[in-house]
Amino acid sequence: MKGYNFAYLDEQTKRMIRRSLLKAVAIPGHQVPFGSREMPLPYGWGTGGIQVTASVLGPDDVLKVIDQGADDTTNAVSIRRFFARTAGVRTTTITAEASVIQTRHRIPETRLREDQIIVYQVPQPEPLYRLEPSRVETRRMHSLSDYGLMHVKLYEDIARYGQISISYDYPVLVNQRYLMSPSPIPAFDNPKMDMMPALQLFGAGREKRIYAIPPWTQVRSLDFDDHPFRTINAPHPCGLCGATDSYLDEIVTDDRGGRLFVCSDTDHCAQRRQAGHVGTDGMREAAE
């Protein structure tokens, strides 16, 4: 775009961000402060992810942007358009075709590869903030691996509700060292982070933090021996493609309690339907 550098940020800034990224990769799960810039999109709308993407993006990259698992949600459209405009890179909705995937709130169902990078938008990088609001204090807790507070919280959940009541942004321990927020992905997606072949980068623009998980790194969702971590998903197959192993969105179809469950990952659903899989609602649709 005229008047702006490739992918919006100037090269000095990208270099600064890449230095932070290198540090983040070297210390998996550790939050690295960085000189987050003011972006032309609002804070909380993916400015961290955008800065990370801008810093790793090259002219040959193919970019996919999703929000809630979908390529066509408004903010995903807006960010994809931002990079199409400022970097002129090729974009795609197909997970397997993308070299860089920026995401908000989901990890694609398609298993990622070593030659891919996934960039998470992070609203609140500090996993302990609900328990201890002072970042001065939480920084100290991280340096000492003092995560007792979080274990007590999980224990209290079990004592009170019989189970851990966190359903998204479920805390993980990275490389057996740092407690980390996986960003507000559903707990369903947590296991995908463990030993993922792709590089995982996390950008929090407003909070000015970057963190990372290198490929093939252990990521463990916190739990107890007698209360192992388990994921939650709607007990239905996808209404459109019949998938039973994907994360489902619940669509309200009428005001009489009608519900339809469909894949949140729109690409995954489309690929399956192209391959001939049909769900119960898909059949009804075809019949109509």
Binding site: Y8, D10, P33, F34, G35, S36, R37, E38, M39, P40, P42, Y43, G44, W45, T47, D67, Q68, G69, D72, T73, T74, N75, V77, R81, R104, H105, P123, S134, R135, V136, Y161, G162, Q163, S167, Y168, D169, P184, P186, A187, R206, K208, I232, N233, A234, G239, L240, Y247, L248, D249, E250, T253, G258, L260, V262, S264, T266, D281, R284, E285, E288
Partner: protein, 363 residues
């Protein structure tokens, strides 16, 4: 009803932008606002956008106000997003407010002082009666002009300092921090705190400053001096070796003078809270000075009990561009998380029903 996946976000966004542009323009039979009109006649709006946008440029600020339809936080956001792309080629010297070309200068602690009290173009003593004449464009009264005392307009704090009654300016000698390049870290030094306050939201700082006056971290403030006028901005390019004047900007400065009972190492004296803001922005400068002083509680050995004294709390929440982005991001889709919460609540209700059948049966 057959379910059709929500598509067409791209077209919807384009259409929304077009509608916004029409909405901004409004009735086309009404003349379009010019930037000169905004810069001249909505000066306080332009000042606020420049201050919170951290960019001194009246014309760009007027454009931002126009583009934002008068929404000043949005205007500050537009300015910041533009500012971040500008190359940085020099750091200025600190501006010398003693050498200010004064338009207004008042002190609440001395009845008269060298240089005198100069009210300037203040709305302070206007009666807040809607002036219906203004709606019809009445003639503007002539205004008296005087030659201000060319000689001396010493700052009140300097007058107090001659007697040793007030703390001196601290100077670390280190280059000042810059929040727009380096993330906030703690303990945050005063240079960074003042930068954050100068960029901070006027309403937020006003509320915090007000809270210190109502007992939440009070520090017995007096408005030692408020001055507003033009100061020159100087830089010293390395290849020149001497300073050159690159701009004249209007700023408002407020020095609050606060009581301090002394400590083991320091005799009783007055302490200071400092406010400096782009443009004519007296309310903001005063609030800033109150909050600056409140945040010095720990340094001065006072109890830290109130929100305004909590440096981390104030600095992390005073930036309205950060705040508005994060508050408003709640309108982005969250249905993946909400879905997991739905399943979670259903599961927890099942669990509750299973473990408390007796209670329900008894109801």
């Amino acid at each position: 009803m057959a379910y059709v996946a929500v598509k067409g976000g791209e077209r919807a966004i384009s259409n929304a932008h077009a509608w916004l542009a029409q909405e901004r323009r409004g009735d086309s039979t009404v003349p379009d606002l010019t930037l000169a009109q905004i810069a001249n006649q909505l000066g306080r709006s332009v000042d606020r956008a420049m201050g919170e946008g951290s960019l001194y440029d009246r014309e760009l600020a007027a454009l931002a106000v126009k583009q934002a339809q008068g929404d000043l936080i949005e205007a500050a956001f537009l300015l910041r997003a533009y500012r971040t792309t500008l190359p940085r080629f020099a750091h200025s010297h600190p501006v010398d407010t003693e050498a200010m070309l004064i338009e207004r200068r008042v002190s609440a602690v001395f009845k008269d002082l060298p240089g005198g009290q100069i009210l300037g173009p203040t709305p302070d003593y206007t009666h807040r009666l809607l002036d219906f004449g203004l709606a019809d464009g009445v003639a503007i009264p002539d205004c008296a002009t005087a030659n201000p005392d060319e000689a001396a307009m010493p700052r009140v704090t300097d007058i107090l300092r001659q007697e040793g009654l007030i703390e001196t300016d601290g100077s670390s000698g280190a280059p000042p921090g810059d929040l727009t390049r380096e993330p906030l870290s703690f303990p945050a030094k005063r240079d960074v705190r003042l930068q954050a306050l100068a960029r901070g939201d006027e309403g937020f700082l006003l509320g915090l400053g007000y809270s210190t006056q109502r007992g939440y971290g009070g520090s017995h403030p007096f408005a030692g001096e408020i001055r507003m006028g033009e100061v020159s901005v100087e830089i010293e390019p390395a290849e020149l070796g001497f300073s050159i004047d690159i701009a004249d900007i209007v700023v408002t400065e407020c020095q609050m003078v606060n009581q301090f009972k002394g400590s083991k190492s320091v005799p009783p004296q007055f302490t200071r809270g400092y406010g400096l803001v782009f443009g004519f922005a007296e309310r903001k400068a005063m609030a800033m000075a109150l909050v600056d002083r409140a945040m010095r509680a720990e340094e001065l050995g006072e109890d830290v009990t109130a929100p305004a004294q909590n440096v981390e709390f104030v600095l992390y929440h005073s930036d309205n561009v950060e705040a508005t982005g994060f508050v408003e991001h709640l309108k982005l889709p969250h249905y993946v998380d909400f879905q997991s919460e739905l399943q979670n609540v259903r599961r927890m209700r099942e669990e509750a029903a299973r473990t408390r059948p007796c209670a329900e049966a008894a109801e």
